[in-house]
Symmetry: none
Subunit: 197 residues, 4 copies
């Protein structure tokens, strides 16, 4: 039923972007297939040529968001040469997300709230964090090998870094004032040093 992979990836992407737009502007529970179609300048029917149903489309939206973010982080960090530069690149990339790509956290938050009621979403989100955690562990491993940081329990550190980032990001979401946001952002970067140095 679902179209063969590679058939019309442009249309699929067009629909996914429209769905993201709807999530960001209206919230996951507050838009219809018609809203997506309107945002994509398409008819409602065509969406069902590219996606089995609404749920399937929404799952693909999350996968797309995650894969974009993973790619961004990995490319930035891989381009840096040693532990210090890699960690700096990672920190800067993550720190800039709320301002430069605020959609990501909004979308993540929307799906996170659905995770307890949807095993598939839960699995996808879980895997994303595991991947990111392992990636951070990789960076820390380099630091250890270079003798720049002391040996720490990898799992713990990765968990803490991730949760810290998430916590700050969500906290950030509900703060209106620019000044407060900047402060939280600085705090966010500062705290990493406490962990790892």
């Amino acid at each position: 039923m679902s179209p063969k992979i590679g058939m019309e990836p442009i249309r699929r992407q067009q629909i996914i972007e429209a769905a993201k737009h709807c999530i960001v502007t209206k919230g996951l529970p507050h838009f219809s297939i018609k809203d997506i179609a309107k945002a994509a300048n398409l008819s409602t029917g065509v969406i069902y040529h590219y996606f089995e149903n609404k749920d399937d489309l929404l799952v693909d939206v999350l996968k797309d968001s995650f894969s974009n973010t993973e790619k961004l982080v990995k490319e930035t960090v891989d381009a840096a040469s040693n532990y210090n530069n890699k960690m700096k690149a990672y920190l800067e990339t993550v720190a800039k997300v709320p301002d430069e790509n605020p959609d990501f956290y909004i979308i993540l938050l929307n799906y996170l709230a659905q995770a307890p009621y949807n095993e598939e979403l839960k699995r996808i989100i879980s895997r994303f964090f595991q991947n990111l955690g392992r990636f951070i562990e990789g960076i820390l491993q380099i630091g250890y090998k270079e003798g720049v940081i002391k040996k720490i329990e990898k799992g713990t550190a990765a968990n803490l870094i991730l949760s810290q980032a998430m916590g700050l990001a969500f906290y950030y979401l509900i703060s209106n004032e620019k000044i407060n946001k900047d402060k939280i952002n600085r705090d966010f970067v500062e705290i990493f040093k406490k962990y790892i140095e």
Copy 2:
């Protein structure tokens, strides 16, 4: 419109608890007034005697959740005598929430996801975190006066503690395995020492 305050607080509470049950079992966007009524063993109509509409009821559910949690934290901490005991009481209370009152974080997460689209929810959540932040600052202040901890920037510390708790809690939500949860929990308590000692 809504019944005089004090009129039938039992029914109001009964409905609020039923709504909480629905949020926890089905998720904020996935239950109807009829579901709440069924959960409360009431007819649908009666809900509108006690609440103006569904949105109002859901706002009251959040307020109720927050006020319960605030009360629990404050009472536990106030019962402790000095900085060390107070901080220990705080840490233990917060650390136990995910296991002893898992509903709280699920409910919070559901509302947090709606905050970007609803100014009232945003305000209520904001105020809750502000209150909790000030409360933590108060504990730290005591520690500083007693000479137990070094002077630290209060705002930062409070923010970090809060966001750490939130981040871990949500991370916790998507972890299935008991063993992983326990570990995260231990990490959570451990990290506080890094901040404040």
Copy 3:
């Protein structure tokens, strides 16, 4: 089931007046028993002590309106001594209704619109117009006996006077400007002379 007549006529009247107020301010289809109760400063339940149900109450409201108007017209005309004075009294009374008792026509219009779907209302309204028609015929009869007017077909004249009054009154209802209303009013009185002189 319905309370014995004479039991609490004050309460009945209080409720009827409240219902009239609701009809005039909101329109027959747009208010509830609760609205009536609120307007009468009573509880909803008590209305069912004095009226079998909403329909019965609304029938009684119409009867009350009609009996008031009939009484007013008859008393005014009966107080006049001869044909000329009687007809003058009638014309003035009717002409003043839209301004002095605008509720009457609004209430009448509301019920008239229901007449095609409710035999009881139809019968009550029919009887009211028949009574008024016969009353006008009586005045004309006096004029004929006094030799003041020429013999005319009574039924026709009465019908025409009534319908003219009704038509102008409803036309009047939808005219906003005071100046227009005054003009229509003057036209209304003027036309009677054409009929009968």
Copy 4:
């Protein structure tokens, strides 16, 4: 929102006719969207493809009724050649409405009763009567130019003719017996001569 003009005027008309049927058989306040759908042999949802909401649909029903009547009157009168024929055509057309198109007055009455509570309806009805009034003035003007009738105040005459028609029509509505209806009808035509000759 509403479909492009010209898209599916047949469906729109189908729904409007079904709504008219409901008004005539049940009365404006006593039918639901579901009733309309059933009368039109459609599902409930489709109505919202063609009309924004129930109120909008009902407004369009009134507009449709008025435009039909205006067209009928104008076409009939325009086809006549001089004043006498035009006025005769007008009188006959109007006199026949209650028997040949009894729905019109029932529908009009239903909306008239809502006019005091709905500015839009009031405006539409007002405009209809103004148009019709001006049209009658036009006929009288011709009669005056042809020297057939004496000069009369146009506004007054038009108002009186209209209100007479309305009054008789509504009076007619509540009369059951056929004989009575016929008599009123004859009276209606007769009265015009008194006005204008």
